[in-house]
Symmetry: D2
Subunit: 323 residues, 4 copies
């Protein structure tokens, strides 16, 4: 279809480029790094060739979340947001953006959130999972009490929050010892991000801020497949969980799921069967995935044309109030 | 439907009963412990009431896998297998069994495997994930080279291997800190067991032993939903993975997936869409799940009557050569 | 779910009661005739017991469409609409109505359409297929040129049109000779109504009146399953078909499909896969089907809770502008 | 996939070629007529290019069924079967065949059935619906009592019977008056063939001959979508139907459904959800459909690789005992 809008479309700035290097074979890296840095011709050409009207841009991963020095995190986030805003200003019909935020410093994160939305025109915020704080080895998940004011502000500003994957802390990924091919997008991204999302749901965040709009990539990081079982077990042994409602209700009412990197029709159908097509949004995960691969699959997968238009465009316009 | 056969139907012996206590609210524990110890009336009554002809029994989890003392592990495994064999002998039309094995001692495991299959008539083997060895803190996954002779023997005996969940090592579950409601079947079982299975596939086990028959519970522990993405990423950056084929091929050709604890039609359809109904087997996860809940769901879920008979019975008879 | 709204909920008046008698075994008729005549307690009790907030009422079939005398048709239609309006006035929160129209006389049909919508408050119009005109043996389908002004008026008033089944003319049902069990809802209703709908699409009605809102019962009378094939054949040999677009586009953009009498999850999924959940509306086909059968199925079928609310209520409120 | 076997793959002989002319625009006819007459290079080239190992051939439609002169019907059937047998003998690894039968003369039909299977090596029989007998206007459906000995013989020989579409008798297709674009494969084929199949099921044929193997093309001619409703209505008002069982049971146990001309994934899923993948067989409907269209769709549609191999090949080998 034409006029698709993509929701997980990354760029990098020189300060964050290195984060992505490990995910690419050496021979591919020069081409990749050129693609991810580009916010002009290369990207727009690919969009034109594949029927994408707009990308809602976001910084690569983990980027800011891995800069444990608070001050540096704040500065790099600002710089990234400024560069992104500039690119959007040059092509306002083709780009919008998610703010990157220095979650190491919750107050600064709130300030940068404000600045990004109110001054730079960001339409949402994307955070790459937990953030390291003050040292390489300290980290906090977003269900930590220090983030309650942040969530309050996200709800108040009424902008969608995108929970993007990053790799687990080394201390949390020993299960994969000896199997580096399972690092990152192949496997550990999904475990980390689904777990983080479960922590948030269980912590009662969505009871406290019932209007949060929360986006997950990769068709929900396996949660559409297994959330029934998780909820079924918790119903039987709740062990004092703070969440007031059954977990699937938060997914039904607060979450949207994108197709980034999950170009698979069976998984898409599982997701539609659990949450309905209104909750699904198109995304490519460029440049970690090819725009073309995402688009050829999406344009031809066995869903109704009505749902294709909704997932590929209309749901996104509605969720982000794009005009 | 009548004459269903169940594939993940646990019992305990006094030595392993304690393993399951933590999963139950105190007020439920007396009833539960009575159910899991019973290998006679209670169980058969429940089967009769719900159209189950046969249970293929297995010990609870982690049981043997958590007995780090090798000698004790060998003894308790033998005792459990003997008790199970006795129960089967009393009701040979209603019970068959999976052997429990002391994987702490690979040679002893092979010997007990032989004894269980050849002398006791076990139709398969069920292992609860990794095993602790010699101390609480040492453990090995089954892709470890010390287990190659074991896999060779399983293939040679041509009996199905059931990879049953257990909780991650404490050092592997810090991601859930502060969220005990996500322990066990609610979440960490699935992560642990899917990861273990991926380790096995990636290690080349199924290239070396191409006739292994490998069973996963819980509709594949999320792998039907996400294996395409894992394979897609590995195809792009293989990082020297030993596996010779794409991971989904092992699932198509070496694996069977049971419905234990995943009484959810959308997930069942995802699994059928990825691997076909021939690869799906009925199971309840009794007594952690109610026989009735499993059966009412399965008897009424929206699949063809032809597939219901296959999943509920015929596939199992064929896979296990039951007569 | 609570607060369901039903879209194909029939009543009869003494003048039309006889039309339905043939569909019922003698022993059931007294109870049935009581149910279909009732527009008060019996009906509301059934709704209350099954979570239905509202029925959008319609006369039984073929009723007016089989009264070949124009004048009589006009009178009976008026009487039926008046009786219905009275019932709605007594329970405005529980009932709305589709107008019955004397299509034998296109001008009178337009006048009654106006009166029903503007004076009686009808929210749509329901016609039982072709109408016999002037004699038992003359009949016209609604793609006949004499009905173009009628369609223009329906579009202008912006009220949904429900194409309800009736049996084929005797001269059109000889294929079933000797097989009376295939008459009516069992088989010939569907063939007749799907064919009539295809005639309308092929005739270019939806090109001329692109804002028509057209409703089909019984999940689209098999069209979701086979419209691709019909369109594929017409694309290859169009033989001068007047329709300007591919037939599925009319279904995507002009049609809504109800669950009346088709309480089957696989067919519902086929319909969602072809047209999306926004196009599907709840209906029971009471009293030809039991309210309870329709509701128990719908409340439990394997769709997302989000879609259940849309299909069961929200889509209908939106389509009919109910307030 | 490679090595696909096709089940509805037509040829013509000069005597039957004219039957197909009306379905093609004039400019396409020369190419089409060359294709349908060819039983050598053209066909095998197309198979090679699209991964088809074998075609099970059948005569075009209506062919023999429309030759109302009994003697001529017998002769043309014999000739067609002989020509087909010769082509098979030249390429036994690429072709097998369905016998064409002169159903106008039930005794002769049985004799030709015997000769075809026993002497010519036909693996099944394909009949194009009802047959005209003795005059243009007389016709009999296959539930007529005169065909009981024929069905007995089919069951005894244990060869599958393929019910192929033909157009309704003119007296049975007045519903389409003025809409020639709905004739044939676009619409009336399906109505006719589904109705004929319902007649057979209702008549009790499958009770009398419970081992009949009955094949329907076009994914079951809409029956997978609507048979639940038909059965539901008959359960409520059976009106003395001879069939002893619910109609879906005959479909589950006696029928197989092919993909001919229905290259649509949503309809395929509906069919799998109702009858399971074991009951589905690959077919193209060549040369009315392109081999390439059928194969590109089938090779890429969203089903499991395991089911693809079954539907595309293994189910067919099993059903026809191909070696
Ligand atoms: Zn990404
Ligand atoms: Zn278990
Ligand atoms: Zn009705
Ligand atoms: Zn054909």
């Amino acid at each position: 279809m034409l006029h698709k809008i993509g929701l997980e479309e990354h760029f990098a700035i020189p300060e964050t480029l290195g984060c992505s290097e490990k995910y690419f074979p050496k021979e591919v890296w020069p081409k990749f790094s050129k693609h991810i840095l580009d916010l002009m011709e290369i990207r727009i050409n690919q969009m034109d060739e594949n029927g994408m009207e707009m990308m809602i841009l976001s910084l690569n991963s983990p980027a800011i979340q891995a800069i444990y020095d608070r001050k540096e995190a704040v500065e790099v986030a600002k710089k990234a947001n400024d560069i992104m805003a500039e690119a959007i200003a040059k092509n306002p019909k083709r780009f919008r953006g998610f703010a990157a935020l220095p979650m190491q410093d919750p107050d600064a994160a709130i300030m940068e959130l404000h600045r990004s939305v109110k001054e730079l025109g960001c339409v949402g915020v994307l955070v790459n999972g937990y953030s390291q704080i003050d040292s390489q080895d300290e980290y906090k998940y977003l269900d930590d009490p220090i983030y309650r004011p942040f969530w309050a502000e996200v709800e108040k500003l009424d902008v969608p929050f995108y929970m993007h994957p990053r790799e687990p802390m080394p201390c949390n990924s020993k299960m994969l010892a000896g199997h580096p091919w399972l690092d990152g997008a192949a496997w550990s991204f999904g475990v980390e991000t689904a777990t983080h999302t479960l922590r948030l749901m269980c912590s009662g965040i969505f009871d406290e801020f019932p209007n949060l709009k929360y986006i997950l990539g990769h068709l929900g990081e396996t949660l559409p497949f297994c959330i029934w079982r998780t909820a079924n077990r918790i119903r039987k042994e709740n062990r004092g969980i703070p969440a007031k409602r059954a977990l699937p209700e938060y997914m039904e009412q607060n979450m949207w799921l994108t197709t980034s990197g999950q170009f698979r029709t069976a998984a898409l159908w599982n997701t539609i069967m659990e949450f309905g097509a209104d909750r699904i949004l198109f995304a490519t995960d460029f440049p970690f995935e090819e725009v073309k691969d995402a688009c050829v699959w999406f344009d031809n997968c066995s869903i109704s044309e009505n749902d294709r238009v909704k997932i590929g465009r209309d749901n996104i316009i509605k969720l982000f109030n794009l005009t």
